[in-house]
Symmetry: C2
Subunit: 189 residues, 2 copies
DNA sequence: TATCCTTTCCTAGGAACTCTAGGCAAATGG
DNA sequence: CCATTTGCCTAGAGTTCCTAGGAAAGGATA
């Protein structure tokens, strides 16, 4: 019988697409196998188990997200960079809700230190270069930004895909506020 | 045969405890039934399905969290209130990781407007009263704070339970920064 | 007290999913 | 061209979710 031509890469991408359609937590090995016209057992020669599959999707999503953020940062600085960076996150989450959920997947310690995961903090540091924050303020700001982006975006996606003008404006004003904060970061309390 | 004395309340609390032990996503009807010495099918006369059970745990967690936040706010204002409020969130997440994960569970629209869920934004507004923000800045700030708290706390819990002094200080400095931001919220850009 | 009704729990079983074991055939490489 | 590896298969065990139908406990009512 002919082979289906399954590879880990195609599998991971298909799982990511499936996640965008039906939700990351609903991605199963069985459903994925059906999509390839293959029995579920057959996939276990490409993937160790479900967690392995989920981890691969997570790393794919982190990589794509980092690529977008990097593209958003090139040629920009200061508030321009902040807004572009933030919108890259937000747009990605809107376009690819399943992938974004995957990016929030809790990786094991070994995978958490993978390249895709660390790129995000180094890029956030690049973004902050325009604000000239000394350490440890820079590290704090990285955490604050990550916290805000992730928190805000998941609040928004959880609240349905309203995409209202009011939300857009609220988002823009919050970025203004963050810009002000970064320019006036408290040096000593 | 004697009855096990299962009620929805006991079930929900047991599920929440179980979530703290083994993780919210690992709470199953079967495991819960085993804890009560009952077959899994028996639980379906108390609970509609797994989603129903998860929703109940989520509402329990939201209620507990709101209670703590309310207690933290009483008698405080300004930065004092901000710090106490933020620490209530953070401490709850540390003490009850499973319950906290449940609180992040995406509720259906009908349950999302439940009392427990709305208490959080009304309390955040109470917290902001000390900063005298006009609308729509107040709504923006509510979102920013929620985004930051949730994002930061889940970043922290995802990164293992290190509980280092460095993290504590970073947290404290970020709260300083937020306080500064709230006192200097940009009125017009 | 006797009878009815509701609630709680049972057994039985179907459907979906995860994952292993063992086998065969296609692809690859010496 | 043959040996090895790889991809995919069937078979099946174990878990979980959930429904259907029934039995018994506990309370309400006559």
């Amino acid at each position: 019988m002919a082979r289906a031509g399954v590879t880990v890469e195609r599998l991971t991408r298909a799982a990511a697409d499936l996640a965008d359609e039906i939700g990351f937590e609903n991605v199963t090995v069985s459903a994925l196998a059906r999509g390839f016209g293959v029995t579920d057992a057959g996939l276990y020669s490409h993937v160790k188990n479900v967690r392995d599959l989920r981890t691969r999707v997570a790393i794919l999503a982190l990589t794509e997200l980092a690529d977008r953020a990097a593209a958003a940062l090139t040629g920009r600085s200061g508030k321009d960079a902040l807004v572009a960076f933030a919108n890259a996150y937000r747009d990605y989450a809107r376009e690819h809700p399943g992938r974004y959920a995957a990016a929030r997947f809790e990786l094991d310690p070994e995978n958490a230190s993978a390249e895709a995961a660390t790129r995000h903090s180094t890029m956030t540091r690049a973004l902050l270069r325009g604000y000239h924050l000394p350490e440890p303020a820079q590290t704090d700001a990285v955490r604050l930004l990550h916290g805000f982006f992730h928190g805000y975006v998941s609040l928004e996606t959880a609240g349905g895909f309203s995409h209202s003008k009011a939300i857009d404006e609220s988002w823009a004003r919050n970025l203004d506020a963050l810009d002000v904060l970064l320019r006036n970061w408290p040096s000593q309390m």
